[in-house]
Every structure is written in structure tokens, then in C-alpha cells.
């Protein structure tokens, strides 16, 4: 008997890579007669093990989405603004390129810095340097720093990593703070979810801190609701318990593998001998000794000492002293978690950490610390994000779990692994700026986002909202006139939407390289349509936890429209502007071809997209593994070996006392003084983290009674995918995306019910939306899912049920970590029923 479905007999499975979020899980796509029929996880790829998250499963609806832009377009309505129809008309590629080259060319001849770029294609991170070759340093987007503004620099500074994750295979006690790792978001969800589930099945305990009942909280053994931006207080309180109450911490690790025993002078700098070597206190000699001269067993980890009339303390002691008043009681008042809970979790954690234990893996013995604290955006994307990140890392260090089995593991940016270079004093060289070398200080600054003023950081795009509207305050002596957007939606992702609109309105010319119309592309003069991920080439390896190696993205069908690969587009513009040679040179650097001259691109030649990736593949995997090999095999992904995973930096120490941060701060101060700039805040350049109120806490005193937060869940990538009906059809049905989340107690006090229209007002602005009453949220917090934050969509079925969260955020320095440029992603709000 016939059944309802039949599978096409002759169909073809093409291996490729998912592009529905930045991470790039392995996929294979079933194609018949040129039509893509099914996307599955590539079962041969150890990254995601044949699994796909819901977004990965929805890829076909992106490829065949009727709202995609399929031909180059130009606006015919000169008026620009929100809600104003650009009156797009389709044009030829040649005309589009001609216009773009003419307009960008004018500016480049005048002052190339006048180009403002918003580039957000993480998978094609090799193309991010295009604006630099054009001559513009400017970064007009809150990608990467909305989440990792302080995170990536601290990871890079602690162990040369880009991101981090706990050891799924061996951890037994997992504290998760403000992150969806393994449950709903962050690193490679598809594979991580499996690893997390396996770990929970073998009995790993999960404790989740989140103001909201996230999936991580729902599946945790314990959910601890906190106030936004106060998680650090919770962890500092736990550190206090470990150091001062339980006196349990991994002395051996701290002494032998970090700079915690190095002596710190009263001025905050390390004590050094004449040769500049950092000193430790030799208990045998009762005197300082160079760090590499003292026998480890004689090194003091704790204590204050007198030496040559100076008082010196070990780095560890400095932090211990600093934490003396960070009692659970005091921290409890800040984060609203009870002191008993702080004590209990600290005790459980340190007990689970099994300090002193070892494990043998493949014939090698490692320390074994199966307890670790994992965290991401929610927990540290705050105005004191540097302190947040340092606190979480140092809390992990207290139990000696960094990069050891069971513990907290670094995750590299790509296949190249960790940034491992020996720095000063036997300590790993910090990498506080991973995407490009830290730019030298400059005044007046070149970049509108002031990158020259952040020796630590991840390009603070949100500062544009302040610098471009008040340039004189920052000595900015030019004004950007044209904008290039590529795979980025700054009108959505940046704080202070009104200001972003003002800036957009000033642009004389805007070009967008995208696949669909968005809030931002509506301001474009020319729209250049990119291929989707199912139509283009790319070799991808991005923040892979557990694995390493590239996965190939390749076209599975002919392009649906008259679209082009973004690489081709950028190369064509470079060519027309006459800097294709420099572009090739830059690609040589970012691809690493410079280290492998055989593959160097000839500046005089133009390379097609396949040629580029072919070279890239061969330069890494050898000449027998070029693009053709990848086309057939799909990927070269393999598990990272224990050697690559555990203590990949060998005997190098990692910083516990972050002297370099202090030094950078002092240097910055001098530099600012030299140029006569007085009021630049530098107060977060601290060598050790502590509790300090942020502007958000201060706002609470000014009558902004509640908090507002934003969050991601597994059905959506940012708010981009809410235009995909397959996905929004499902997310619309989950109360979590049904409106602005509010706790029933608060709702009752304010007379709010599910469905009530409410207004949230922060010092920056206000949003209106429909309330959704849920038990799973802290009574002082309002939650706004990304799924309800789009303010412009071409897809009719997507109704707006909330409002654009980012209007509540402030882009200014007051809400920015002064050391890293990380932005504050929570806001204090007043709430009223309307």
C-alpha cells in the first residue's frame, strides 16, 4: 500500500557547513534535480555528531525565503528614515558596482577614515580586514563586544584562548552563569547539547545563575535567580568563603602554575630584581628570590613581608586581603542570593573539585579538578565586565581547574589553537586584543570607536553613538560620510537606536551587502545581495569546543537569484577602487600565507573564491587536501587531543595577579595627560577584581526601580531568524517569546496581566510592549527575548509583540567598561502600564 511519503530515489547528499549561526556545524544536504530537499547533521563530523539545532534544521527556509533580495538594487527615494520606503529598483551588478566605486572612491580620495563599516560575518572573519585596506579603522556594530567585549580579552590574557567551556567529558559540578552553553546558545549548540546531556546523565550537577528561567536553569539541579550584573558579587562571596572561611584552595596550582606567589609592592607593581625578574618570597631564606630561582616548595603563596623597608605581599595575599570584607552577607545584599546559598555552593564546589586529585589520560598524568564555573554573555556583558571576567576566572583558579581535566578549558578562535607565547616572568603572554594587534595610542583618535584608547578590548562599536554625535569631546576631527554594511544589522544590534538613526541619516552614501532587507539595509543606497550559506564557499573553523579542523561550506544548489559571494563583491569593489593588491596582501596576512610563502597570493592577480579557499585548505592541510578533497570529504574536523586541550602552554604560568592591566592603565593615564585629556575614565584598569557599583546600580537610586535584560534561545540566531517563518511559527508559541517577561508578584503590584501593554523607561529611552507574566523570572527583572525585538521586518507574518530592547541601553562611556570597552547590556527601568 502506498504511504504518505516517499523519498526521492536518486538524490545526492552534499557535505557542507551550517551557516545559520556563526559556529558552523557539519551538515549534508540532500539535493535532487537542483532542489535542496533536506539538511541533516553530517554524521562523520565529530563536532556536532550528525545533530542539528532547530536553526540548522530550518536552513531550507532561508535559502528559499521569498523575502530574500535576489538582485542588486538601488534606492529611488532620496528620503531616508525609519518606515520610509526606499522605493527599491533592481539594477545590474555593473551599475551597482559603478555607483559604489564612485561614491566610496570619492571618500577614499578625501579621507578614507570617513568610511564607517559594520561587518558581522564571523564565518568569513578573514574578510574583516577589508575596511583597514580601504583605509578606515572604524567599526560600527555591537557584534562581539555586546557579548565578548571583556570576555575575549580576559580569555586571551589568562590562557591565550578566545572563549572557554567546562570539560563536558569529566566535569562533575558545573556552575553556569548567564550562559546557554550546552542548552540553548553560545558555542556550537548542536554538539554541545549532546555533551551536556551526556554529562548530566552520568550525574554531573548543574547550578545555574540567571535572572530568568533559561533552559540552562530549567534543566539545572538548582536555579539561582540573581539580579543582573551582580553575579560577580555572588562569586566574590564564594571566593571569600574558600579563602577566608574554608581555607580550601589549590595551593600547589596557585604557587606553581600562576603568578599568585609573585610579590606585589604597595604601589601595585611586582617586586623585581635588578634584572627585572619578578620576585617571590623564599620561606627558607626568609627573603625575596627571583621567581625562577626559588625552589617551588619554598615559595610563599600567602603572606605579607617586610623587605628593604618595603611591605610586600604575594599576589594571592593581595586578593585575599581585598576579599576580606566581601563576606557572603555583604555580597548577598548586592545579588539577592542568600549568604547560606553562597556558602553552600562554595562548599559543594570546592568539595567536588577534589583538590590534589590526578588522572591519567593516554599515559600522561594531569591534575583532575571536576568542578568548574562556566559563564558567558549575561554574566559579564556589563559595565564592570573586566572585573566580572577576572572574578570568574580567578574563582576557577582557586580550585586549580584551568585547562585541566574536569575543569575550565580554553577554546581557541580557530584551528590555529591558543595564543601561546612566553611573556614576562615565566607567565604566558597576555593577548588582550585577539582580532587585530592592539592599536597604538593616538590623540586625536583615528577610529570613531576609539580603538586607540583601548589596549585591551574587542572594538567597542557602541561608543560611536557618543563619539559621532559629540566628536569634539573626543578630539575626533573628521566626520564619516559613507557606510558599508556587510552581514550586520547595526540598527538592531547597537544600543541607542535613536542615535544610530541620527548617524545613519548623516551618511551621504550607504552600501549594504546582505541577503535580505533589514532595519539597517533600508538606509542603503545600493544593496548588493550575497549568496546564502547554501550557495557559497568557505572553509570554517570557529570557536570549536572539543574539536578542531575545518569544515567546508560549498554550494549545494545553483544560486536562487542573481547574487554573488561576499568575497567576490568585496574584491570587485577593491579592484574598482584600485586597492586589490593591498587586499591580497592583507589576505596573505590573515590567512597565514605569509608564513607559508608557497601559497602567497600575488598582489597583481585576482583570485576567485574557490581559488582562495583552495589555497587556504592546502596551506593548512597540504597540497593533497585542497578544495577538491574538501568537496568530497566535507571536513577535516577531529577531536582535539589531550595535549592540545589540557595545559597546552606546558610549564608557562598563567596570570593570577594582572599586573599588566594596571601597567596599561597607568600608561594610558600618562598618555592622556600628555595630550591634555583629563576626564577619560581609567578606573577599571585594576590588577584584581573586587565589588564596585556600576552605573546601573546608581540608576536604581534615581528611581529606575527594575532591571531589563535580553536573551537568546535555541530557536533563533539573534533576532535575524525571526523573519524565517519556520522558526518564528514555533517560537511565537512559546510564552518565553510571547512578550516582555514579568514575575507575577511584580505584575500584581503594577496591575499588569499577560497581554497588558507596558512601557519600560530607562535613562536612555523607552520601549513599549505586551506583558507576559511568567513565574520564571526574578521579581525585579523584566526579560525581553530577542524574538520580539525586530522593529523592521519584510515578512508579514512576523508581528511585533515586544519592542526593541536596545533602546534601553546607553552606548556612552559611563555604561562601558573603561578598561575593555565592553558594554553594559542590562538596564535599569521604570515600568508603567499603558
Amino acid at each position: 500500500m502506498a504511504v504518505a511519503q516517499s523519498v526521492p530515489a536518486e538524490s545526492n547528499w552534499i557535505p557542507s557547513t551550517c551557516g545559520m549561526c556563526l559556529h558552523g556545524c557539519g551538515i549534508r544536504v540532500q539535493v535532487r534535480d537542483g532542489v535542496a530537499l533536506k539538511i541533516e547533521g553530517d554524521p562523520t563530523n565529530p563536532d556536532n555528531l550528525g545533530k542539528l539545532c532547530p536553526k540548522g534544521n530550518a536552513g531550507l527556509s532561508r535559502l528559499y525565503d521569498s523575502t530574500r533580495v535576489l538582485k542588486p538594487m538601488k534606492r529611488t527615494n532620496p528620503r531616508k528614515g525609519p518606515g520610509i520606503d526606499p522605493k527599491w529598483v533592481e539594477i545590474s551588478w555593473d551599475e551597482a558596482y559603478g555607483t559604489v566605486a564612485r561614491e566610496l572612491g570619492k571618500v577614499r580620495a578625501d579621507d578614507p577614515r570617513k568610511l564607517l563599516c559594520a561587518i558581522g560575518d564571523f564565518q568569513r572573519i578573514l574578510l574583516w580586514g577589508w575596511p583597514a585596506v580601504f583605509g578606515s579603522p572604524n567599526f560600527f556594530t555591537s557584534l562581539g563586544n555586546y557579548c565578548g567585549g571583556s570576555y575575549h580579552p580576559v580569555n586571551g590574557s589568562v590562557d591565550g584562548s578566545f572563549a572557554a567551556i567546562n570539560d563536558y567529558d569529566r566535569c562533575n559540578y558545573w556552575i553556569q552563569i548567564g550562559s546557554g552553553d550546552g542548552f540553548s546558545s553560545h558555542l556550537h549548540l548542536s554538539g554541545s547539547a549532546k555533551r551536556m546531556a551526556d554529562a548530566r546523565m552520568r550525574g554531573m550537577r548543574v547550578v545555574t545563575l540567571d535572572p530568568r528561567m533559561s533552559v540552562a536553569a530549567a534543566k539545572a539541579d538548582e536555579w539561582i535567580p540573581t539580579l543582573p550584573g551582580t553575579d560577580r558579587a555572588f562569586v566574590l562571596g564564594m571566593a571569600h568563603v574558600l579563602i577566608h572561611e574554608l581555607k580550601q584552595y589549590d595551593r600547589e596550582f596557585l604557587r606553581d602554575r600562576t603568578n599568585a606567589p609573585y610579590l606585589v609592592k604597595e604601589d601595585g607593581y611586582l617586586l623585581r630584581d635588578d634584572e627585572g625578574r619578578a620576585m617571590v618570597w623564599d620561606m627558607q631564606l626568609a627573603a625575596p628570590q627571583p621567581w625562577n630561582a626559588a625552589a617551588p616548595a619554598d615559595m610563599a603563596l600567602e603572606g605579607a613581608y617586610e623587605f628593604a623597608g618595603m611591605r610586600v605581599r604575594t599576589g594571592f595575599q593581595v586578593w585575599a586581603d581585598q576579599l576580606r570584607d566581601h563576606t557572603p552577607e555583604r555580597m548577598s545584599e548586592i545579588c539577592t542570593v542568600s549568604a547560606e546559598t553562597i556558602r553552600r555552593i562554595a562548599r559543594e564546589f570546592v568539595e567536588a573539585a577534589q583538590i590534589g586529585a590526578t588522572v591519567e589520560i593516554e599515559g600522561k598524568t594531569y591534575p583532575f579538578r571536576p568542578a568548574a564555573l562556566n559563564y558567558y554573555r549575561g554574566s559579564q556583558s556589563h559595565a564592570n565586565g573586566l572585573f566580572d571576567n577576572l572574578t570568574y576566572k580567578m574563582f576557577n583558579m582557586l580550585v586549580g581547574n584551568i585547562d585541566v581535566p574536569g575543569g575550565h578549558l580554553g577554546v581557541p578562535l580557530d584551528h590555529r589553537g591558543f595564543f601561546i607565547h612566553e611573556g614576562e616572568d615565566g607567565v604566558l603572554k597576555p593577548e588582550p586584543h585577539q582580532l587585530h594587534p592592539a592599536p597604538p595610542f593616538k590623540y586625536p583618535p583615528d577610529s570613531t570607536h576609539l580603538m586607540e584608547w583601548f589596549p585591551i578590548g574587542f572594538d567597542a562599536g557602541q561608543l560611536n553613538t557618543e563619539t559621532l554625535l559629540e566628536p569634539e569631546r573626543f578630539g575626533l576631527n573628521y566626520s564619516p560620510e559613507v557606510m558599508l554594511m556587510y552581514h550586520s544589522n547595526p540598527l538592531w544590534n547597537l544600543p541607542e537606536t535613536d542615535k544610530v538613526e541620527k548617524i545613519m541619516a548623516r551618511m551621504k552614501f550607504v552600501v549594504a551587502i546582505d541577503i535580505q532587507r533589514t532595519e539597517s539595509t533600508e538606509w542603503a543606497d545600493v544593496f548588493l545581495p550575497d549568496h546564502t550559506y547554501l550557495e557559497s564557499y568557505l572553509l570554517n573553523c570557529l570557536e570549536p569546543p572539543a574539536v578542531t579542523g575545518h569544515s567546508l561550506r560549498q554550494p549545494v544548489v545553483e544560486p536562487v537569484g542573481d547574487t554573488k559571494d561576499a568575497y567576490e563583491i568585496l574584491t570587485e569593489i577593491a579592484e574598482r577602487l584600485g586597492f586589490r593588491d593591498d587586499w591580497n596582501d592583507l589576505l596573505n596576512v590573515v590567512t597565514g600565507f605569509t608564513a607559508n610563502p608557497k601559497y602567497l597570493l600575488d598582489p597583481e592577480k585576482r583570485y576567485g573564491v574557490e581559488e582562495l579557499w583552495d589555497r587556504y585548505a592546502r596551506s593548512i592541510y597540504g597540497d593533497d587536501k585542497g578544495l577538491d578533497w574538501f568537496k568530497e570529504h566535507g571536513h577535516a574536523v577531529r577531536y582535539r587531543t589531550p595535549e592540545e586541550t589540557y595545559m597546552p602552554y606546558g610549564k608557562l604560568r598563567i596570570p593570577f595577579y594582572f599586573e599588566f592591566i594596571k601597567r596599561l592603565g597607568d600608561e594610558m593615564q600618562q598618555k592622556f595627560e600628555q595630550v591634555g585629556m583629563k576626564d577619560w575614565p581609567l578606573d577599571n584598569y585594576q590588577p584584581l577584581p573586587f565589588w564596585k557599583n556600576s552605573q546601573v546600580i546608581e540608576d536604581g537610586k534615581a528611581g529606575y526601580r527594575f532591571y531589563a535584560i535580553t536573551f537568546k534561545e535555541s530557536l533563533h540566531t539573534f533576532a535575524d531568524t525571526v523573519v524565517m517563518p519556520w522558526l518564528s511559527e514555533v517560537s511565537e508559541k512559546d510564552a518565553i517569546h510571547g512578550g516582555i517577561l514579568v514575575n507575577p508578584i511584580t505584575a500584581e503590584n503594577l496591575g499588569i496581566q499577560t497581554g497588558s501593554r507596558i512601557r519600560l523607561t530607562s535613562p536612555a529611552g523607552s520601549i513599549e510592549g505586551q506583558a507576559q507574566v511568567v513565574e520564571g523570572i526574578h521579581p525585579e527583572v523584566f526579560g525581553v527575548s530577542n524574538a520580539i525585538t525586530r522593529h523592521f521586518v519584510t515578512n508579514d507574518r512576523q508581528k511585533q509583540r515586544g519592542s526593541h530592547f536596545n533602546r534601553l541601553l546607553t552606548g556612552s562611556m559611563r555604561y562601558t567598561d573603561s578598561a575593555t570597552g565592553g558594554l553594559e547590556s542590562s538596564a535599569r527601568v521604570r515600568v508603567e502600564k499603558i
Partner: protein, 204 residues
């Protein structure tokens, strides 16, 4: 003979709806039709509260009320226990839908197949997939019979990021499904309806 079925481990499940979407793209169901879906629920009161996730699909009931109710014989049960709808025989009376206690029958309303998810007609993908459907008839989860017949596991099973869905034969007492059901005290939905589901759940 076999009795194919599934065990869903609620402890593993993270409510991600990958199953929902995998089923959608495998079967190309039109707007509003979801054979696989996740029932999300909030329980308790703050702070003792949880979100629970219950992924559901057709239970391929051993004693299937939908088949009992079907006057045309369009709903039939395969030897391996799969409850199927033969669309050429279906008259669209919806008796099966009323009889299914689990809301797992999906009716192809008039006009539903004329438009895809996009506003302008059908995409090439939809044009192919929709050819398998017929307006005015009933449709449902087939436990991916078309895949099973080729020795493949159902689409929702292979995609499940947490491996919460375990597919197999319920018949052998020492098979992986029965073992799990015994060890973890598996249960079925609405046992009071005496439908003898072939989909079992393990406690969170």
C-alpha cells in the same frame, strides 16, 4: 513482526524544537502543521519553578482509536505497528482527529497547499514536498515510515541534539527500548485512554 516505537528521555531533552523543525523539513508540512512538537509548560511558583518540555509525536498506538474511528479504512496499521493514513482513501471526515486523545492528527484544510510559507506561491522545495499531500485529507506523523523502510531512523531522532529520542523495536524484552523502559520506569501519555502508545517517556 515488530512493534516500532520510541523512547523519549525527558531528562536529556532541552526543549529545543530541533525535532519539530527536522520533522518539518523532512516531511515538508505546510504552515501550521507540526507532527513533532514540544509542549512547553511552566510549573510551580517563583522561585520554586521550572519550565518543562514534553516533545510529542504520534504515539503509533497499539490500540489506536484513530484507526477505530476511521470509517473509510484510510487509517491503517502496518505490521510493524506504524499507524498510517492512506490519503487516497481519506474522505476528510476528521473522525480520527476527534478520536485521537493526543492531538496528533493534522487536517489539510482547503487552500492550505496553495501557498507555501513564503508569500509568493510555492518554493521549489515546497512544490516537491506538497505533491505528497492532498487538501481535504488527514495527515500525520508516519514515524518516518519512508525512512524506516530504508533502514534509516526517523528525522526527529537523528537530529535530536541531546539524543533524547531513542527509536527501535518495542517487542524484544531485552531490546534497548524495553530495557530503558524497565530501568527508568518508562510511562506513556494518557494511559487512561487505553491506547497503548508506542512512544514512552523517561522521567526528567
Amino acid at each position: 513482526m515488530a512493534r516500532l516505537g520510541m523512547v523519549i528521555d525527558l531528562k536529556r531533552c532541552i526543549g529545543c524544537n530541533a525535532c519539530t523543525l527536522a520533522c518539518k523539513q523532512e516531511n515538508g508540512t505546510p504552515e501550521g502543521v507540526h507532527y513533532a512538537r514540544v509542549i512547553t509548560r511552566e510549573v510551580g511558583t517563583y522561585p520554586k519553578t521550572r519550565r518543562t518540555f514534553l516533545p510529542v509525536l504520534c504515539n503509533h498506538c497499539d490500540d489506536a482509536p484513530c484507526a477505530q474511528a476511521c470509517p473509510s479504512g484510510a487509517t491503517w496499521i502496518r505490521n510493524d505497528g506504524l499507524v498510517m493514513v492512506e490519503r487516497e482513501k481519506c474522505i476528510g471526515c476528521r473522525a480520527c482527529a476527534v478520536a485521537c486523545p493526543y492531538m496528533n492528527r493534522h487536517f489539510m484544510e482547503k487552500g492550505l497547499l496553495e501557498h507555501g510559507y513564503s508569500t509568493d506561491g510555492l518554493s521549489p522545495y515546497e512544490a516537491i514536498k506538497f505533491a505528497e499531500f492532498e487538501e481535504g485529507t488527514m495527515t500525520k506523523c508516519t514515524l518516518c515510515g519512508h525512512r524506516v523502510d530504508q533502514g534509516l531512523e526517523p528525522a526527529c531522532v537523528i537530529t535530536c541534539p541531546t539524543d533524547a529520542r531513542i527509536f527501535g523495536d518495542l517487542e524484544p524484552e531485552d531490546g534497548k527500548l524495553q530495557k530503558l523502559i524497565r530501568e527508568r520506569k518508562g510511562w506513556t501519555l494518557l494511559p487512561e485512554c487505553n491506547t497503548k502508545p508506542s512512544v514512552f517517556y523517561l522521567d526528567d
